[in-house]
């Protein structure tokens, strides 16, 4: 499990790779929180493209981070191409909180556009 950050203006892109389960949830949570509170961050894109596995522990991580991003006045979006992970996002209602895209550019456009 790994997570890498890049900035595009005030948008933080958090790119996950590997397997996201309960074992790595706290590690990922702390890593993201440290980046989110930086003054340079407003919106956040969760890029799940590199994940080979995610279960409902990942939902907890995403929803928890989403709440904090909103509190700080930002927006969030998800990039995901894996059908199973997308289904988990869907049944858990995450897609009602954050839009999901297949491409980074679409997510960037949506966040800046709105």
């Amino acid at each position: 499990m790994d997570i890498k950050f890049t900035n595009r203006g005030s948008t933080l892109i958090a790119a996950f790779s590997g397997e996201l389960d309960h074992h790595f949830a706290e590690y990922v949570r702390n890593k993201i929180e440290r980046e989110v509170i930086k003054a340079t961050t407003r919106d956040v894109i969760f890029d799940l493209t590199g994940l080979s596995f995610m279960d409902s522990s990942g939902i907890g991580v995403l929803v928890g981070r989403y709440a904090n991003i909103r509190k700080l006045g930002g927006k969030a979006a998800i990039i995901c191409s894996n059908g199973r992970i997308r289904k988990i996002l869907e049944i858990s209602g995450v897609l009602k909180l954050m839009p999901v895209y297949s491409e980074l550019n679409d997510a960037l456009r949506a966040l800046s556009g709105a």
């Binding site: 397997e19 074992h23 596995f53 279960d55 409902s56 907890g60 928890g64």
Partner: protein, 151 residues
């Protein structure tokens, strides 16, 4: 019905064993030649049940989790059990979004995910005695050509 193959695994309720349990279930079930998608379904459901045993069953203690896999001609039965806390109200626990640990950022979606990816999920539990979750799934493999020599 007699299983064609069977295994029993016992391991400690450490979070590093979540990935281990997924690998074991997938390696055993792959003997039935499931599709990659079916195998991922099993990995996901096993991960949910094992994580629950660790977080909810044993909470802060270290206990033993037991996973039994039985393979039939084209289906699998996976039983995951703990001797932990147990569940008071199983119906409530299985509701989507219900969690007893929102402070741990649990989503309450574990059972719902298991039910989405497996054919059937059976839960038996007694407060103070523990919980057994049984996952059932039939594979499409019987319809696909099988590499006979490799069995």
């Amino acid at each position: 019905m007699q299983p064609v193959n069977e295994m029993k695994l016992e391991f400690l309720s450490k979070s590093s064993n979540e990935a281990f349990a997924r690998v074991v279930a997938a390696a055993f079930v792959s003997q039935l030649d499931p599709t990659i998608e079916e195998l991922a379904d099993v990995r996901t459901a096993v991960s949910e049940a094992v994580t629950n045993a660790i977080i909810h069953g044993y909470e802060d203690e270290t206990g033993t989790i037991r996973m039994v896999c039985r393979l039939y001609e084209r289906s699998v039965e996976i039983e995951i059990s703990d001797e932990g806390k147990g569940i008071e109200d199983i119906e409530l626990a299985m509701q989507p979004l219900y969690t007893s640990k929102p402070e741990m950022e649990r989503s309450g979606m574990g059972f719902t995910v298991m039910e989405s990816f497996m054919d059937r999920v059976k839960v038996r539990s007694k407060p103070g005695e523990g919980t057994t979750v049984t996952l059932y799934k039939t594979f499409s493999s019987a319809e696909r050509p099988r590499k006979k020599q490799e069995k």
